[in-house]
């Protein structure tokens, strides 16, 4: 999936530069919207590190739709690629935040267990 990035942007740049027609990136739009929804559903808006990238993804997605509406499909494709990379980064950061919090909670729980056991052992 990611391997399509370079040809996609290169092609979009080429097409945009030559002014040739570029097909409407329908699938790319669907994939990007899906990634943005996943990020939002995972709670990226509540994860400080992910919040910015979710916002960037949403803004670039909106810009891509405007570009499509204006017939600038090449620029829209580039914006969708950027938006998707932000959405996927937001997902990764949200998951990392959740996983780190869970790991810390487990450590706290283990420490509490040790304290309880040592108290019981001392009685």
């Amino acid at each position: 999936m990611h391997r399509t990035l370079i040809p996609s942007i290169a092609a979009a740049c080429f097409v945009a530069g030559c002014g040739a027609s570029y097909p409407v990136p329908t699938q790319q739009l669907a994939d990007t919207e899906s990634a943005e929804r996943s990020a939002a559903e995972l709670g990226a808006a509540n994860e400080p590190k992910a919040q910015l990238h979710l916002q960037l993804a949403q803004e670039q997605l909106t810009q891509a739709k405007v570009a499509i509406a204006g017939g600038d499909n090449g620029r829209a494709s580039v914006l969708l690629t950027r938006a998707r990379s932000d959405a996927e980064l937001a997902i990764a950061l949200t998951r990392a935040g959740t996983a780190k919090a869970a790991a810390q909670a487990a450590i706290d729980q283990a420490n509490a267990q040790k304290a309880t056991n040592s108290k019981q052992g001392g009685q």
Binding site: H2, A92, L93, A103, A110
Partner: protein, 296 residues
């Protein structure tokens, strides 16, 4: 997986960019830094696929910069490469955190298991102690039962001894002195003599049998008594000799010597009136006192 190769690749492109004397765009600089962090972080071992994808993205951005310089296309590629590198870094950290959580939970589970095993061991130890105490109490109960049986047996034997002796002697239970067996002096000794009459030995044999058969621990005191005829000193000495004679005879019949003592009281402890012949006959006597056994 290709971290070293990719890092070399980044450095190579950085060198090219330097030779071209063109300043790289900020997104490319950021992408290089992000990839550097990701390749030295958890992603290298936890999510090499994501890191490889980031390397490919950075490679594309570097090539674009090398070929075309700081163009919008280069900046777009660098922008995406930067996100890919950060995504790989975050993904590696997420997987590492999940791994740590799993290890922590496993350690907790192990600690709980150890705790439970220790509790079970303590419980088992306590149960064993309870069982041992139960056995000890049972054993103590058996000992008490045996002691009670022995006591009852001793009481039976004592009663039997008293019954045996009652056939030829006066047997009384004195609360202070113990069992008092009174043998008439006329039965045991001739007048003014301290040698046993032949018939007396038969009586004393039965006393000795009773004392050895039914009771082997009680102390025995042989007391000699006389009537008031004759001098007190003489009577005292006679009563002492008679008591000694009876003691010696009892010892010869198997009673342990350390159990038996002899004492003469002479005329000092009459039990009847010395004015009559019958009273004097009663006063001439030997009393064998079986002292009560002290409680253990």
């Amino acid at each position: 997986m290709g971290t070293i190769r990719n890092t070399s690749f980044v450095l190579a492109f950085a060198g090219i960019a330097g030779c071209a004397a063109t300043m790289p765009p900020a997104d490319l600089v950021s992408a290089r830094a992000s990839y550097g962090r990701a390749s030295h972080g958890a992603a290298a071992s936890m999510d090499p696929g994501a890191l490889h994808s980031a390397a490919e993205s950075l490679q594309g951005a570097e090539k674009s910069f090398s070929d075309d310089g700081d163009t919008q296309g280069t900046r777009d590629l660098a922008y995406v490469a930067d996100r890919r590198a950060q995504t790989a870094e975050a993904s590696g950290e997420a997987l590492q955190a999940a791994q740590q959580q799993g290890q922590t939970l496993a350690a907790m589970h192990q600690a709980e298991t150890d705790q439970a095993n220790a509790s079970a061991a303590r419980l088992g130890q306590a149960n064993m102690q309870i069982a041992q105490q139960g056995q000890a109490m049972q054993s103590q109960g058996q000992q008490l039962d045996a002691e009670r049986d022995r006591r009852q047996d001793a009481e039976k034997r004592a009663a039997q001894a008293a019954a045996d002796l009652a056939a030829f002697a006066s047997v009384k239970q004195d609360p202070v002195r113990g069992m008092v067996i009174t043998l008439s002096g006329g039965v045991l000794f001739a007048s003014n003599k301290s040698d046993l009459l032949p018939g007396a030995q038969v009586k004393l044999d039965e006393v000795a049998d009773a004392l050895t058969k039914n009771d082997t621990v009680s102390k025995v005191v042989v007391e000699g008594h006389t009537d008031s005829q004759g001098g007190p000193a003489y009577n005292l000495e006679l009563s002492q000799r008679r008591a000694e004679t009876v003691r010696a005879y009892l010892i010869s019949r198997g009673i342990a010597s350390d159990r038996v003592t002899a004492v003469g009281y002479g005329v000092t402890r009459p039990i009847a009136d010395n004015a009559s012949a019958e009273g004097r006959a009663n006063n001439r006597r030997v009393e064998i006192v079986v002292q009560p056994t002290p409680s253990p």
